[in-house]
């Protein structure tokens, strides 16, 4: 066992972990952060994406010990403390970009990092850049178009049809 210090969603943790454990299992099984989804386990689908010091990372292919001393952000740390959705989460709802929802926590993390990285040039971000930044995620339901629209909404752009989706989701 190895001592591991983690800063997760604003809280400090000190854990004894097995070096064979992935960050994914530590987050899910030890800290109860089950918004982090386990799916392919080999870095293909992106469902387990968390932010490691702000950088989108497949937690299934990250040994927990590699996160020593780092800041981890999961979907549980995105909403406001009272449960109010973050602008990115709201955009996913408004664009109808969530169906079964399994890929959503990972995608929300990538979009969150994408907005932070591009905060000084939101107006000039292209659709191609959005697609490239989110290419490490698989979604079996939505066909990606609504996800791209969600990111555009989060960028503060008007998206055709988004209001309609919001009506349906009410």
């Amino acid at each position: 066992m190895v001592k591991l210090k983690l800063h997760v969603n604003g809280r400090d943790y000190e854990l004894d972990v097995d070096p064979r454990e992935s960050l994914l299992t530590v987050l899910r099984d030890r800290l109860g952060l089950i918004g982090v989804k386990k799916s392919c386990g080999v870095g293909e689908c992106g469902a387990c994406t968390v932010l490691l010091n702000g950088v989108p990372t497949d937690s299934c292919l990250t040994l927990a010990v590699w996160a020593e001393g780092q800041c981890v952000r999961t979907v549980e740390g995105v909403a406001r403390p009272e449960g109010e959705l973050s602008p990115v989460q709201r955009a996913y709802v408004e664009a109808g970009a969530v169906q079964c929802g399994f890929c959503t926590p990972g995608l929300v993390m990538t979009t969150t990092a994408f907005l932070e990285q591009n905060k000084d040039r939101l107006a000039s971000v292209t659709r191609e850049e959005i697609k490239r930044a989110h290419a490490g995620h698989l979604c079996r339901c939505t066909g990606y178009e609504m996800i791209t629209e969600a990111v555009e909404l989060a960028l503060g752009r008007e998206v055709k049809g988004a209001a309609e989706c919001l009506e349906i989701s009410k």
Binding site: V42, T62, L63, R132, A135, G136
Partner: protein, 290 residues
Amino acid sequence: MFDIQHYYKAESIAQAVEMLAAHPGSRLVAGGTDVLVKLRHFDDKFTRLVDIHALPELKKIAAQDGKLFLGSGLTFAETMACEAVTQYIPVLAEACATVAGPQIRNMGTIGGNIANGAVSADTAAALLVLEPMLVIQGREGVRRAAMEGFHTGPGQVALAADEVLLGFEFDLAGLKGLGAAYYKYAMRSAMDIATIGCAAGVKMEGGRIADLRLAFTVAAPTPLRCRRAEAASLNQPLNDAAVAKIIAALEEDVQPRTSWRATREFRMRIIKTLAGRMIAAAAEGAKRGN
């Protein structure tokens, strides 16, 4: 839980070399995007690990005396963001950008991409064209090896069990005037493995080809330079007839195979098409200065 039988955390390169020597059968893990996948698939060749993940010593970037050194532990994303790379050897950044998706590029390393011996390694064709020296640490000291010939077979490289690839040393002076381009042909533009990867480097002198470097991945059991095609290009003007001659010679250089991804015939067609396109793109780059 990964099926790791023995785990040794190296705090330095020297320690990693000692650990590799002391524990026969152990393998290095850096970014983990390949080794941990192999473990998920219960590959028992990777159950003893020496961990060099994020070692600061392997993240060195140094430009001096006309040389650029890139540490093997730099991730694809770090390499793409490196100013010296985008300024002097942009084709390497282009190749890194074609690797998998963002999360893998944030973790996987350029050293691992070469040291794991993958025939489809996205950086391999670009590196074969850029001709860096590989800097390798062993127990007896540091040695240098050429990029060409480093791959010895599918998944195999000329690296002893107790050696660590420290990084790549580029001769920037020698690369002056070389235009270069890379294209990855795959079924999807993300999260896919190359069906064929092609890089070309071209230096022109007085309207004639002074230096052609043509490299492929997945076109033979190892990434390779196409020496016959290159020889056919010498002192040729860059026109359709010359390119046709180069492409004809190319057929003798490559040995594509049939796999579930593509047939031998289809791969050969892609190889010939990409050769023409990449030579043109590289020559265009030489005019612009990269």
